[in-house]
């Protein structure tokens, strides 16, 4: 088996700020990786570079499709990159308004991604939209409603449904439960855990919440100032942190 995504010597700067400082990393099929660190540590920039949204200053990101064919995200054509984004991976934004279209129905939001991937059969698209609404525990009777009538938790679930409809093997998520009520967050995390296991998804997600990382990810990367200060099995890093910064993060968790 080979990694589904690999990054080599990734560098991204904003003026004098180094957001990604010569990073190497890889993610394997079916593996859930959490990227943690405080605001400004470079984790969101890394996610954007890895997912084709933001070209790094230098370095390469390579995606490997099921057949073993590799694509260097920043060397392939824009059309090919768009196709990969719509079919092979999904991106769940922290703010669902960024990942959904508010003036299109819930069903339309899901179906749109299928159509972008080439499907034209109305009945099948609607059937798939219904199926994915159910999977994400959204009442399929609301398929024709606009998402602006949805609650924050429902919007986030709709955004995930829209991403999963094309059967991606890799999901990027940026603070997917940020800004949600605790109980809503808990339900979303349950759903995500179940979907990741059943669909055998590889996931790279950014969070500042170590409890969320422990719940979802088997592997964790701790970032500070654009560098990875510690990485490894999630339970090992959180139960026996080695780096001073990781020890500080773990010590800052509130326990009930």
């Amino acid at each position: 088996m080979s990694p589904i995504l690999e990054a080599r010597q990734l560098i991204k700067t904003f003026g004098r700020i180094v957001a990604c400082d010569d990073l190497d990393m890889e993610v394997w099929p079916g593996e859930a990786l959490a990227v943690v660190g405080e605001s400004g540590s470079g984790k969101t920039t890394l996610l954007r570079c890895l997912s084709g949204l933001l070209a790094p200053d230098s370095g390469a990101v390579t995606f490997r499709s099921l057949g073993g064919e590799t694509s260097d995200l920043y060397a392939i054509s824009a059309a090919r990159l768009r196709f990969l984004m719509r079919t092979e991976w999904g991106f769940v934004h922290q703010n669902p308004y960024q990942g959904l279209r508010m003036n299109v129905s819930a069903g339309g939001n899901i179906g749109e991604r299928l159509m972008a991937a080439g499907d034209r059969h109305y009945g099948r698209i609607r059937g798939q939209a219904t199926h994915w609404l159910n999977e994400l525990e959204i009442d399929s009777a609301r398929i024709d409603e606009h998402p602006r009538t949805f609650s924050g938790g429902m919007l986030q679930r709709l955004q995930i449904a829209r991403n999963l409809v094309t059967g991606p093997r890799l999901l990027f998520m940026d603070e997917p439960t940020g800004g949600l009520d605790v109980s809503v967050q808990a339900r979303l995390l349950d759903l995500l855990r179940d979907l990741i296991e059943r669909l055998d998804l590889a996931v790279i997600f950014v969070t500042h919440d170590l409890a969320v990382a422990r719940l979802i990810a088997e592997r964790i990367m701790v970032m500070r100032d654009g560098q990875v200060v510690e990485q490894g099995l999630t339970d090992r890093v959180l139960d026996d942190p080695q780096h001073p910064y990781t020890q500080q993060l773990v010590a800052s968790i509130l326990r009930l």
Binding site: A186, G232, L233, R236
Partner: protein, 238 residues
């Protein structure tokens, strides 16, 4: 000819560096070596705070081994888990090594039955078959059926501990690590767990357990390992 050991610990050392306390260095274990064969049960004993749990956690990959080797026979090969890549550790945990921690790490909102069945699902076993097997395990450990669909966060300490044991043994690991598996159990349940562990050993599992209770330890131990002053010594079983 005796087969290769299931677990071979070589010159293992561990200290904790507390960066938030001015970099204090706490040595816990030094130069620990021992072997454990299939079908053998070794009990680790020694006063509290001397590194018994730390040793188990290092073998499981939960604590980092900074020196030495943790050689485990996994599938057809011997792998060194000290410093191994996370994927290898996870693979060994999935199919070769089980760990019963002192406390159940409850996942909020997941029913007891699904917590117990999870390791089988992880091996690609059909979810319904996994649940059926989980029912058998929980029934054997005398967890009432009405609690199967309840998340164990509200269970008593003894019930949580049995859920924990059921979860860790459901996939019949070849190497079983246990940290005080009977500490919070009443006598009837203690006997049940003891019998379950003896059965695991008799089917050929290598068992390594931290047990304080002298009677339980005596009932289970083929060998005894004592930890004192950072080192281990083997003592004959009384």
């Amino acid at each position: 000819m005796p087969s290769d050991p299931r677990l071979s610990v070589r010159h293992l050392a561990k200290s904790f560096c507390l960066h938030l306390q001015g970099g204090v260095e706490l040595s816990v274990l030094d130069d620990v070596s021992f072997d454990l064969a299939d079908g053998e049960c070794m009990v680790i004993r020694g006063p509290s705070g001397r590194g018994k749990s730390t040793l188990l956690r290092m073998i499981f990959g939960n604590y980092m081994a900074e020196q030495g080797q943790i050689l485990i026979r996994h599938g057809g090969e011997v792998v060194d888990l000290a410093g191994a890549a996370p994927r290898l550790v996870l693979d060994v945990r999935r199919s070769t090594m089980g760990y019963v921690s002192q406390f159940l790490h409850c996942l909020p909102r997941v029913p007891a039955l699904d917590i117990v069945a999870a390791p089988l699902r992880g091996l690609g076993i059909d979810p319904q078959a996994a649940r059926d097997r989980a029912v058998q395990m929980l029934t054997y450990l005398a967890i009432p059926e009405r609690m199967f669909e309840v998340p164990p966060a509200t269970f008593s300490g003894g019930e949580q501990q049995r859920v924990n044991i059921a979860r860790s043994l459901i996939n019949e690991p070849k190497l079983i690590l246990l940290d005080e598996p009977t500490a919070s159990l009443d006598e009837a349940n203690q006997d049940r767990v003891l019998e379950l562990l003896q059965r695991q050993r008799d089917r050929g599992a290598a068992v390594l357990a931290v047990i304080h209770n002298t009677e339980v330890a005596a009932a289970l131990a083929d060998r005894e390992l004592h930890i004192e002053d950072l080192r281990v010594t083997e003592r004959t079983v009384p």
